[in-house]
């Protein structure tokens, strides 16, 4: 269900603009965004052929910083791909700095002249949507302003991915709307606790995963032409239940 809006050309334009901005503001060499569905993943956008190739390598190997970030919901930073595979610095609740990569991945990075990779989960609470990854030809960690910029773009991309189905109706998905505007509109709904509470309730009502529950909640709002916050309030007030298919 999520695949349909994501394949829209308007999305590509928004992702392309946001990825380009992320690369520009972080001083990275390139970026790509991967969509993660239940058991699937596919590349949504890559800024250049190296980024596309890295995405392909991760997908083929079934491992890498992006998949790890997507699985754990934590930031994964590989500031030096070629460092000795010795230590993993891990924050308990937050991200990890690591050079713990498979030999295949290190070799692929070497061939592509890639020195560092940084992966940012795109998520809403426990809902995992995908990953933003940045690569750099120079080794070294992201400095504070660059890291902050990357986090900001990861958030904007998350909002953009979510804003699409709601925006299709008014023709905004044709790429004419500023990415920032889309992000703001959907971002506001995401600050409302009731939306997340309703997502958890729908998960139990439908007996599905949290990802699927969130998709169903958004799809219902879209189908009824209601703001997601309104549908969420109905659910939390127990005046609406979503039924299993």
């Amino acid at each position: 269900m999520q695949d349909e809006p994501l394949s829209d050309s308007g999305v590509t334009a928004v992702l392309s603009a946001l990825c380009a901005a992320a690369v520009h503001e972080t001083g990275a060499s390139g970026a790509w965004v991967t969509f993660l569905g239940s058991g699937t993943s596919h590349l949504l956008h890559a800024t250049d052929s190296v980024a596309a190739r890295l995405a392909d390598v991760e997908f083929t190997l079934g491992e890498g910083p992006g998949l790890r970030a997507g699985r754990t919901g934590r930031l994964v930073m590989v500031p030096d791909v070629h460092a000795e595979r010795l230590h993993v610095l891990e924050g308990v609740g937050e991200g990890q700095i690591t050079n713990d990569l498979s030999a295949d991945l290190v070799e692929a990075a070497q061939q592509l002249d890639v020195a560092a990779v940084f992966a940012f989960p795109l998520q809403v609470g426990a809902v995992r949507l995908g990953v933003l990854e940045l690569y750099s030809r120079h080794r070294g960690p992201l400095e504070t302003p660059q890291l902050t910029a990357a986090l900001r773009h990861a958030l904007a991309i998350t909002h953009a991915l979510l804003g699409l189905s709601a925006l299709e109706s008014d023709g905004a998905a044709n790429g004419t709307v500023e990415p920032d505007l889309r992000a703001t509109n959907d971002g506001k709904a995401l600050t409302r606790a009731v939306v997340h509470q309703a997502t958890g309730m729908v998960m139990v009502q439908l007996g599905t995963s949290i990802d699927e529950a969130f998709t169903r909640l958004r799809a219902h709002a879209f189908a009824e032409g209601l703001p997601i916050t309104e549908v969420a309030e109905l659910i939390v007030d127990r005046r609406l239940r979503l039924e299993r298919d």
């Binding site: 919901g73 934590r74 930031l75 930073m77 610095l89 891990e90 924050g91 308990v92 609740g93 937050e94 991200g95 700095i97 998520q123 809403v124 609470g125 426990a126 809902v127 504070t144 890291l147 902050t148 986090l151 900001r152 990861a154 958030l155 904007a156 971002g187 506001k188 995401l190 600050t191 409302r192 606790a193 997340h196 509470q197 309703a198 997502t199 958890g200 309730m201 729908v202 998960m203 139990v204 009502q205 995963s209 949290i210 939390v236």
Partner: protein
Amino acid sequence: MARPDVDREHVLARTFVRLADTLVSGFDLVELFDDLVTSSMEIFELRAAGLMLADSTGRLRVMASSSETARLIDVLELQGDEGPCVEAYRRGEPVTAEDPDEQARRWPQIASRMRELGLGAAYAVPMRLRDQTIGAVNLFRGPEKPLRAGDLPTAQALADVATIAILQVRAARASLELAEQLQAALNSRVTIEQAKGVLSEYGRVDMSVAFAALRAYARSHNRRLSEVAEALAQGRLRPERVIDRAAP
């Protein structure tokens, strides 16, 4: 009247010790902020309290609220882009507005809603980390019940201790940047809301009961609140382990 004062000093002292404690034990930022709000309610005899943090775009988001009323006023503040918390965050200084007329002048969009919700004197203290303001704490007393002299600086001191804890945690975990830490905490807050939804639906209880069950489970199993919430929301922990299924 001496008695309540003594009790109050005890609660205050205990709160400082507990907040300081979090500096050494493994803990959750979410829990720390929640603790700060809950303790402030008791110490300052508040009608409502809330805590907001800025996300990586600089937009304030509700991180902890003493009640649904408190959450509502926080959301109204964010929507209207005005109010004590918003102002304290912007100016990096404590905010005081005790008089309803003054509140109406300063915050024309939300002042009447504050009164409807039974909120009177309004205050906020910023959460400052070095030269950066990362959020603010809202404090509301009942109508015609201003805080006592010296209370606002005490509230600021509590907020300062909580803010310093963020730095400490980072050092202890060789952890990453502040921005990422705060983003993770905000995301944990969302996960907790999702987990509350799961428990509320499964146990047929309201959100505050669901939250209490979540917190009780985390404490009795010695696990972090955000960890338990994530396990629930991702289906790795069954809701029946945490709350009883309501009779149909």
